[in-house]
Subunit: 135 residues, 2 copies
DNA sequence: GTAGCCGATGAGAACGATTGTCAAACGCGC
DNA sequence: GCGCGTTTGACAATCGTTCTCATCGGCTAC
């Protein structure tokens, strides 16, 4: 039902090559630079289908843009992302999971789901920033 | 520095009257229905300044729309929202805050910030759903 | 191999929430 | 009441994302 096309594998390749979270538009540019032109709409469609299949993680930045990344960890997990360069660390917080379920039950809610992401400035970007300030 | 205008207090009044999270556009409609017409741009501006001042909480729905609500709790806190009816409970997770800071430090990140929201089906909506299924 | 079905593609238009523009309106301290 | 500087609002602009639809091209059946 899912055909293997040049575009689809090109997008998959880029996702394999890139480590950090990138927006659809950034991925589109990377593809163009690689000479493997892929229509923007197709990039969006492919990312969406990959996300639906759980093959990439999606999260929304503070300004509402969706960013995508092929994650190492398979199951449910969370992220600590640098808000400057996009560098990401995968983390999981078992305590958070149980706490969420607890809170839900406590207030009579069922089917508890949760979103949680951490944002910060990574060591490298922080150094960069401090250098600029200090000068 | 902050002038009290008819529009500003109209928005504040609506926020006081409404319990659940509502989008800027919904609030704009409510204002129109009340006969207290306020420009959409002004609604956005007012909500933003209220949010900056910590007088309303903002969060983004799954489809990327910002929703606003005057919260009882003043400081930093999180929400457990019914994904069916929008009913919201304010909660705070001291353990989560410290855990977030810990994770950040552990990976060399600075200025850690975090987003976390719980979603579920409230008791009333769950009963509603079960009734429908069972029949 | 190849015909042909039907999903996939892409250029561009459309969309929708939000923000910017700027002249006119109006709080507010005098 | 005056005047200044903020606020307003109709409208345009922005921008990420989705839609449209004519065309292309995997894939399968023959
Ligand atoms: Zn991940
Ligand atoms: Zn960084
Ligand atoms: Zn709140
Ligand atoms: Zn409910």
């Amino acid at each position: 039902m899912q055909r293997m096309t040049r575009q689809r594998s090109a997008v998959a390749d880029v996702l394999d090559a890139v480590e950090d979270f990138r927006s659809a538009q950034q991925l589109h540019e990377i593809l163009r630079d690689r000479g493997e032109g892929v229509g923007l709409a197709t990039v969006y469609r492919t990312l969406q289908s990959l996300a639906d299949g759980g093959e990439v993680d999606v999260l929304r930045t503070a300004d509402g843009e969706s960013v995508y990344r092929r994650c190492v960890r398979r199951g449910h997990h969370h992220h600590l992302m640098c808000r400057v360069c996009g560098a990401t660390v995968e983390i999981d917080g078992p305590s958070v999971e149980t706490w969420a379920a607890q809170m839900g039950a406590q207030h009579g809610f069922e089917d508890i789901d949760h979103t949680m992401e951490l944002f910060g400035t990574c060591a490298r970007c922080a150094a960069e920033g401090h250098r600029r300030e200090g000068s």
